[in-house]
């Protein structure tokens, strides 16, 4: 089990904090692992959605996607992703699509590294043989 938070090299925020997720799920390791596994697909979908919304210059959809990604990332303990999604949400509210274009690569990078971290995490304690 990897219980130590990983720190992103380019961001001061913690990439992924499994202890926060476990606390949120009150020590239910199996359920936490299930949530983590499902979060992988969700993160990929959200990143793709954000890119698509950005390409179609849809600030409203961008705002919604970034907001939902932010909430989901907060719940699973993906703190850097949460912070990045929040920035994009704020810019989308301000209709600042140019800034979002600049921010998206950073979000993609953080998402990739977060996913790497999540995929390498096993929250289930080994079963006694």
């Amino acid at each position: 089990m990897n219980a130590k938070p990983a720190v992103a090299s380019s961001s001061p925020a913690v990439l992924f904090d499994p202890t926060a997720l476990l606390e949120r799920l009150e020590g239910d390791h199996e359920f936490a692992q299930e949530i983590l596994n499902d979060s992988v697909d969700e993160i990929l979908e959200f990143v793709a959605q954000l890119k698509s919304d950005c390409a179609s210059l849809n600030a409203e959809e961008l705002c919604h996607s970034a907001h939902t990604l932010k909430g989901m990332a907060a719940n699973i303990g993906a703190l850097a992703l949460r912070a990045e999604a929040y920035q994009i949400e704020t810019c989308a509210r301000a209709q600042d699509l140019e800034k979002i274009h600049q921010l998206l690569p950073a979000l993609e990078d953080i998402a990739t590294r977060t996913l790497l971290q999540i995929r390498g995490t096993n929250l289930c304690p080994p079963k006694p043989s």
Binding site: A20, E23, R24, L25, E26, D28, F31, I35, D38, S39, E42, C63, H64, H67, T68, K70, G71, M72, A74, N75, I76, G77, Y86
Partner: protein
């Protein structure tokens, strides 16, 4: 055994599952991933409390809140908005709308359960107060009616010195018992008092004596 039901409305599946995990030991959980789905669910199931995400596609949390509040049978259900910690500036909008409270993402299990528990308790107390108030109002109406009847029998009532009929407000002379019946909840049963009985007996005897063939 959970007895109270919570409806969770959120378009983000992982958030729903985490909230459900935190609450399902104490409550029955209904889940909806959109405003439309929530409204459909509310047409056949009435939960004790609703946890409602604000930012959802098609129908956002505020619009759903308004639709719920338009339905009298759902009007009193406490609704707690779900939002991210970063969006606290939007809380004024929800609270001004009439929302009971806010629950923040990331969900802290103890806080979530305490907020739900407190709002359910408040709602129960409010329902109890409303019930008591309705009872008091009913009693008050009864009391007012009784007081009105009592008042009608107050004051100076004109009564005939000979036959004891009473003159009512319309200047009609009425039998005493009829007047009392009309102005109170009293009823009369007919009997005869010992003095009148003696008089009646004497009267019958006198009549019999006066008849020539009574000998």
């Amino acid at each position: 055994m959970p007895t109270k039901t919570i409806l969770i409305v959120d378009d983000e599946p992982l958030s729903i599952r985490i909230l459900q995990h935190q609450l399902e030991a104490e409550y029955k959980i209904l889940l909806a991933q959109s405003g439309e789905e929530a409204l459909k669910m509310l047409s056949y199931a009435i939960p004790e409390i609703i946890l409602l995400d604000i930012l959802m596609p098609d129908m956002d949390g505020y619009a759903l809140y308004r639709k719920i509040r338009q339905q009298p049978e759902l009007g009193e259900i406490p609704i707690l908005f779900v939002t991210c910690l970063e969006n606290q500036e939007s809380e004024a909008e929800g609270l001004a709308l009439g929302a009971s409270d806010y629950i923040h993402k990331p969900f802290q299990p103890d806080l979530v359960r305490l907020r739900v528990k407190n709002h359910l308790a408040l709602h129960d107390q409010r329902k109890l107060l409303l019930r008591k108030n309705a009872q008091l109002e009913k009693l008050n109406i009864q009391l007012q009616q009784t007081t009105a009847q009592v008042k009608l029998l107050e004051g100076i009532i004109p009564i005939c010195s000979y036959c004891h009929k009473i003159r009512d407000d319309q200047n009609i002379w009425k039998q005493l018992e009829m007047y009392i019946c009309e102005h109170s909840d009293a009823c009369f049963s007919h009997g005869i008092c010992p003095d009148c009985l003696a008089i009646q007996r004497q009267s019958i005897k006198n009549k019999q004596k006066s008849k020539p063939d009574s000998m």
